[in-house]
């Protein structure tokens, strides 16, 4: 068995003390894995270890026998073991505790066994007792090393926790052993465990005459000497806790502790401490609250200021106390600072005008009151009776009479005053109270008579409150967001009362919605107010959905959704189109029914805008269409998984798009931009991409019908012969172009399971259009050859074979024997045997996409395509004609197409068939060919282009492949870098190649060859530090130079002067980032010299 052979080796490695710890860990892991997989049984292991177990060498025995076994068990904690095995192992380790040489192994082993849980084979109580006994009698804890001591304490801790009965049997012995172990301990981590052990002991032996009690004085003596704890924090010690953390931690702990006291001691015993606690809570809150109240978007649904841990605990404690005993509220209500709040509020109208102390008062008191209100219904009632009414008076908000009219005191000048502080307090109270409304299930259990008084108070003021908030929003202007913020937040608070017992009636709720919606529709620019209102609406929408408020959902649908959707549909409104779309999509995604409504609205809007454009030539409409499509792709599609039923609506949308295009037979006006086509393609691709196979089929079927109604089928009849292809132009009508692009997009997004009716004519259509210069057609071709199942052969035949079975006599020379080789028509066009340059470059691009499709599915035919592309990179073709530089460039870029991941097609999102390691395979095919061609290249241009192609291949393959071949690749990479740095055209390629180089510099695998090539690497990097065309190249080059310092000193020292010169020059680089890197690099290189030179 291979496992056994390796075992000896691993054992050897582990026992050998001269090897490194990582080595030990490795061999340990290897053995553990084989045990875990049950390749090896424990018994086998013991037999195999025979030699190490019986040797007379103490060290080997201790390591081999005990520690290995113990560590092994630690690894195997989750593995079920036979009870007998566990039993014998425990016995073994217990016995070994007495031998100090092997004590670490024995301790580890015991600990591992005792920690075993559940089904994994447990240590029996008898065994545990034996362990404890042996430990107590034979282990002298304080004479052991630090790590072993810690193990001892942990073992004690474990024993006490897991086998309390067994430990009780031992009684005195245990207590005595613990005392002895702790006496004199100095290490803090050990002490922490030790203290816990004492705590456990005390819990085990609670009786006043028990063993702990009798040893109590001793125990106390041992432990008390550690108190008081001196805080000796040394600077620079990263493991220790800074003073601030400690004090914060202590505060948090004491607050928590007080809360526990409140829970456990009950009201009567806590009562006499109320005053002290109250002032402590106040202090904590005042100290932990800042004065910055955020009026930003993000704080609409949060308190608006930062809350530390102390703050949270203080709040919890307060809430607990109030909940437990309503009389605590008396202290709160009588507090002078709380009472003063109304004065403070009415002193300032704007928040910014307040002094910091007043801000603090307002924030803390609102916290105190809202937390107390949240504690219970009773406390809420009290708070609302005492404070809310008074607050309303201060704010000048009037209540309505029983008849529903507002009480207006005629001879008073009271009118609503928008004090920010007051509004904030009011909002906090409303938000607190809304959580007290029982949810619908509980509703039935609480009798309606318990209708709380706070509810009726809110109800009395609700109309005026809503008015006040509304006027706050409306009076706000752009430079003061506080008004708008408080207004919207207030409206939101009023709108979030749930259930039938809500103090806000339906008509009032609708008023809130109307106000917010009108803010959205009335603003023509994206102001803070607009965003706040939108967010509030979204919050309310999701609140309605969350609590299944069907009545409110109806209001929401009627007021918000329909309003916005109708705005989308109408083409004339003051609001810019993108803003309507944003608002609509945000609001409607809160509930599936709204989504349905919205997509319907979108559909209608698309159709009407599109036909408006086609008939009237309204360019605004087509712009709206593009924005609408962008909204669908960017806002809706990413949330597909969150929103139920969205897929169905979107598929319907896609089909409507086709319908609309089908019915718009005549385009009276041409597009003046590609924007719309691009947007439509993207939407179509993605909708098809996410749709189910059935939906895909129906979209494709629809598209098929539209195609056949166009002039496109005529293209299928164009024979794939040179004579016919030569004259091809981009001559499609706007409509056909749109249809073609959309169809290509649908094909790109389709999954391999989708069915295509007539593969052959489709391929022909795409072939011809790709040769006409439509890239999307080439991508569709690539997608088809990638995904087709049975149709693949036919497709490839059409692409490669049939093309040459033409009447053209030059190409008819036994073309049938090669599949994708250089004899086919496509290949010949690529190689420039005939046709215009345009046709040639398009053919090369097309071939690249087809090749990518085949490459990804692992089809052999890609080799021949690669061959053709490589041929194109030579400066002359086989018949001796020189290739045009542009053709060479396209051929080099084809390698980028083949190797890089495309966003547009042939990726996972669009269901591409992807064989693993396809990039590696292509790498290993092409790199040797390209390398040999570079050596033999005839012209500088061809050489450059070969390097570009190679750089594309190298920089797109996973970096591990490069690292495995560093030795071979490094020279080529360096040559490539210097060739590519000549022309600014290749700057991006140069940069990606440089990144590959930088990746090899630090890796251990490449170190030898990097070291061997150090002079060339440095020479190359030094040149790149002044590369003028791209800043990141210079920056990376300098970083690489700094990395090179990790090489052996003797290798780099000779280049010191050269590097320093280059880097010093870089200190004057026009870009700051380069200069910064240069300073670091220069400093690093300066310091390698033996003598410290100042400059």
């Amino acid at each position: 068995m291979a496992a056994l052979n390796n075992l000896t080796e691993h054992l050897e490695a582990f026992v050998d003390v001269t090897r490194s710890p990582t080595h030990h860990a490795e061999s340990l892991r290897a053995i553990a894995t084989s045990l875990e997989k049950s390749v090896l049984s424990i018994n086998q292991l013991v037999v195999e270890m025979d030699m190490y177990l019986t040797t007379t060498d103490d060290v080997v025995r201790a390591r081999g026998r005990i520690l290995l076994l113990a560590e092994m068990l630690d690894y195997l904690k989750p593995k079920p073991l036979d009870n007998a095995v566990v039993n014998s192992l425990v016995g073994f380790f217990t016995a070994k505790l007495a031998e100090w040489r092997s004590v670490r192994g024995a301790l580890t082993g015991c600990l591992a066994l005792i920690k075993r849980k559940g089904v994994a084979g447990l240590v029996t109580a008898v065994d545990a007792e034996a362990v404890a006994k042996s430990m107590a009698q034979s282990v002298q804890v304080q004479s052991l090393a630090l790590y072993d001591r810690k193990l001892c304490f942990e073992l004690l801790e474990c024993l006490l926790e897991q086998y309390p009965e067994a430990m009780i049997n031992l009684g005195d012995l245990m207590v005595y052993a613990t005392c002895e172990a702790i006496d004199g301990e100095k290490d803090p981590p050990c002490l922490m465990v030790a203290f816990h052990v004492v705590e456990l002991l005390a819990r085990l032996f609670p009786s006043p005459s028990g063993p702990v009690a009798s040893e109590a004085s001793d125990l106390f003596e041992f432990i008390s000497c550690y108190f008081p704890l001196h805080y000796t924090h040394t600077k620079g010690d990263e493991t220790s806790i800074p003073r601030e953390d400690l004090s914060r931690g202590l505060s948090v702990d004491s607050l928590k502790c007080l809360k526990d006291c409140a829970v456990n001691y009950g009201v009567s015993r806590m009562k006499k401490h109320y005053e002290g606690i109250w002032s402590a809570i106040k202090d904590a809150l005042y100290a932990s609250t800042g004065t910055d109240l955020s009026f930003g978007l993000e704080s609409l649904t949060s308190p608006g200021f930062e809350m530390g841990e102390i703050h949270r605990e203080a709040v919890n404690l307060l809430q607990r106390l109030v909940k437990q005993d309503i009389s605590f509220l008396g202290l709160v209500a009588d507090d002078i600072r709380v009472k003063m709040i109304f004065d403070t509020i009415s002193r300032y109208s704007r928040y910014e005008e307040m002094l910091d102390t007043s801000k603090l008062e307002v924030l803390v008191v609102s916290q105190i009151l809202s937390v107390s209100a949240r504690a219970s219904v009773e406390s809420c009632n009290t708070i609302f009776e005492t404070f809310f009414v008074r607050l309303m008076n201060t704010l000048g908000i009037v209540e309505k009479t029983s008849s529903g009219d507002l009480v207006h005191n005629e001879n008073s000048t009271v009118s609503t005053r928008l004090y920010h502080g007051g509004l904030h307090l009011c909002i906090e109270l409303l938000t607190a109270s809304k959580d007290l409304i029982p949810s619908s299930e509980e509703d039935s259990s609480t009798p309606e008579s318990a209708q709380q008084s706070w509810c009726s108070i809110v109800n009395r003021f609700s109309v005026s409150l809503i008015e006040a908030f509304t006027s706050a929003v409306q009076s706000s202007n752009d430079d003061c967001s506080a008004d708008a913020y408080l207004g919207v937040k207030g409206l939101l608070a009023m709108g979030m009362f749930r259930g039938g017992s809500s103090p806000v009636s339906r008509s009032e709720f609708e008023k809130i919605l109307t106000t917010l919606t009108s803010i959205i529709t009335a603003n023509s620019a994206k102001t803070v107010k607009w965003e706040l209102a939108l967010k509030a609406l979204v919050c309310m929408g999701s609140f309605i959905d969350q609590y299944h408020e069907s009545e409110k959902a109806m209001s929401y649908m009627g007021i918000v959704v329909e309003n916005l959707v109708s705005l989308v549909r109408s083409s004339h409104c003051s609001l810019p189109h993108p803003m309507i779309l944003e608002a609509t999509s945000e609001v409607c995604s809160t509930r599936p029914t709204y989504v349905e409504k919205m997509v319907q609205g979108f559909e209608e809007a698309f159709c009407s805008s599109f036909s408006d454009f086609c008939v009237n030539g309204n360019f605004k409409s087509i712009e709206n269409c593009s924005q609408l499509l962008e909204c669908v792709t960017n806002k809706l599609l990413p949330r597909l998984t969150e929103i139920d039923g969205l897929e169905k609506s979107l598929v319907h949308f896609a089909i409507s798009m086709w319908n609309q295009i089908e019915s718009s037979v005549v385009f009276s006006y041409d597009f003046n931009g590609r924007e719309f086509v691009e947007a439509a393609m993207k939407t179509m691709r993605q909708i098809v991409g996410v749709a189910s196979v059935d939906s895909q089929n129906s979209i494709i079927q629809k598209a098929y019908n539209v195609i056949s109604s166009s002039t496109l089928p005529a293209m299928e009849s164009i024979p794939l012969t040179f004579a016919a292809l030569e004259g091809l132009q981009r001559d499609l009508s706007t409509r056909d172009e749109l249809i073609l692009s959309l169809f290509a997009s649908a094909v790109i997004g389709a999954s391999p399971m989708a069915s295509f009716a007539d593969v052959k004519s489709l391929i022909k259509l795409f072939m011809v259009s790709s040769l006409k210069g439509y890239i999307s057609a080439a991508q569709a071709l690539g997608s088809m050859v990638n995904k087709l199942g049975t149709g693949l052969e036919e497709a490839c035949d059409t692409i490669f074979h049939e093309s040459s079975a033409s009447g053209n006599n030059t190409s008819s020379v036994d073309s049938s024997k090669s599949i994708g080789g250089s004899e086919t028509l496509l290949a010949k066009i690529c190689l420039g045997f005939y046709g215009s340059l345009d046709l040639q470059t398009r053919a090369i691009t097309g071939l690249a996409w087809i090749g990518k499709g085949l490459l990804m599915r692992g089809d052999k035919r890609v080799n021949e395509i690669a061959h053709v592309l490589v041929e194109c990179l030579k400066s002359t073709n086989s018949s001796g004609n020189a290739l045009h530089p542009s053709a060479l460039k396209h051929a080099a870029d084809a390698f980028l197409t083949l190797m890089s991941d495309s966003e547009v097609c042939l990726n996972r999102k669009f269901h591409a068939v992807i064989r693993p390691l396809y990039k590696q395979r292509f790498f290993s095919i092409t790199v040797p060919i390209l390398e040999s061609l570079i050596v033999n290249s005839q012209t500088p241009l061809s050489r450059t282009m070969l390097h570009v192609a190679l750089a594309h291949v190298i920089s797109n393959v996973p970096v591990t492949v490069i690292l495995d071949n560093t030795k071979k690749l490094l020279p080529v990479i360096l040559e490539g870098l210097s060739v590519l740095s000549v022309d600014s055209e290749h700057k991006e390629t140069l940069f990606s190649l440089l990144l590959v180089l930088s990746g090899t510099l630090t890796d251990i695998k490449g170190q030898q060859s990097v070291s061997d090539n150090a002079h060339r690497i440095i020479e190359c990097l030094v040149k790149l530090t002044s590369y003028p065309h791209l800043m990141v190249v210079r920056e990376t080059a300098i970083q690489c130079l700094a990395t090179l310092l990790e090489l052996p000193h003797r290798r780099i020292y000779p280049f010191r002067r050269e590097v320093l010169q280059a880097v010093t020059k870089a200190l004057d680089d026009p870009k700051r980032r380069v200069r910064e890197e240069a300073i670091k690099c220069r400093q690093a290189w300066t310091s390698i010299s033996s003598r410290s030179t100042p400059f």
């Binding site: 065309h1029 791209l1030 800043m1031 010093t1064 020059k1065 200190l1067 004057d1068 026009p1070 870009k1071 700051r1072 980032r1073 200069r1075 300073i1079 670091k1080 220069r1082 400093q1083 300066t1086 410290s1092 100042p1094 400059f1095």
Partner: protein, 158 residues
């Protein structure tokens, strides 16, 4: 040598937040970002005081306003304020600032290091010493001094 500290209890101020530059660079590859006041201040703010574990910025020996720079004329002047008037460490501080700038700025720059007027007892002598090429070179021949300077500079290279 004085055995005690020259300033036993210096006032320590807050470090200013490092300003992150809004990257306008991404828009134009070829725009030039001239060396400016903040950049130079960033080079020297973290230099450590020779006798306290605080940076020169924390002791307000240097502030952003103490740097004057003219990139076109390749000229920079740093004016520093020793914490006490009779500070004998002022030379070391001045030397450290000079060395740091020599290592960080292109060679075309002329560097002028000065003590703030009225902040030091031997102001004129100090200024002369710090800007005398020969004397600076000579000082840097002294391994003890170089070691001291290097120690002050080490945090500023992190």
């Amino acid at each position: 040598m004085v055995s005690g500290l020259i300033n036993e209890n210096p006032t320590v101020y807050e470090r200013k937040e490092r300003r992150v530059r809004t990257d306008s660079t991404n828009t134009d590859e070829f725009s030039v970002e001239p060396i400016d006041q903040l950049e130079i201040f960033d080079h020297i703010r973290d230099i450590r005081d020779p006798e306290h574990p605080y940076s020169l910025e924390q002791l307000k020996v240097l502030t952003e306003d103490s740097v004057e720079v003219d990139d076109h004329k390749s000229y920079v002047r740093v004016t520093f304020t020793p914490t006490v008037e009779h500070c004998s460490m002022a030379t070391i501080i001045g030397l450290s600032v000079r060395v740091k700038l020599m290592r960080s700025l292109p060679p075309r720059y002329k560097i002028d290091i000065r003590v703030a007027p009225g902040s030091h007892a031997t102001e004129a002598a100090l200024n002369k010493q710090l800007n005398d090429k020969e004397r600076v070179a000579a000082a840097l021949e002294n391994p003890n001094l170089v070691e001291m300077v290097d120690e002050c500079l080490s945090p500023s290279f992190e």
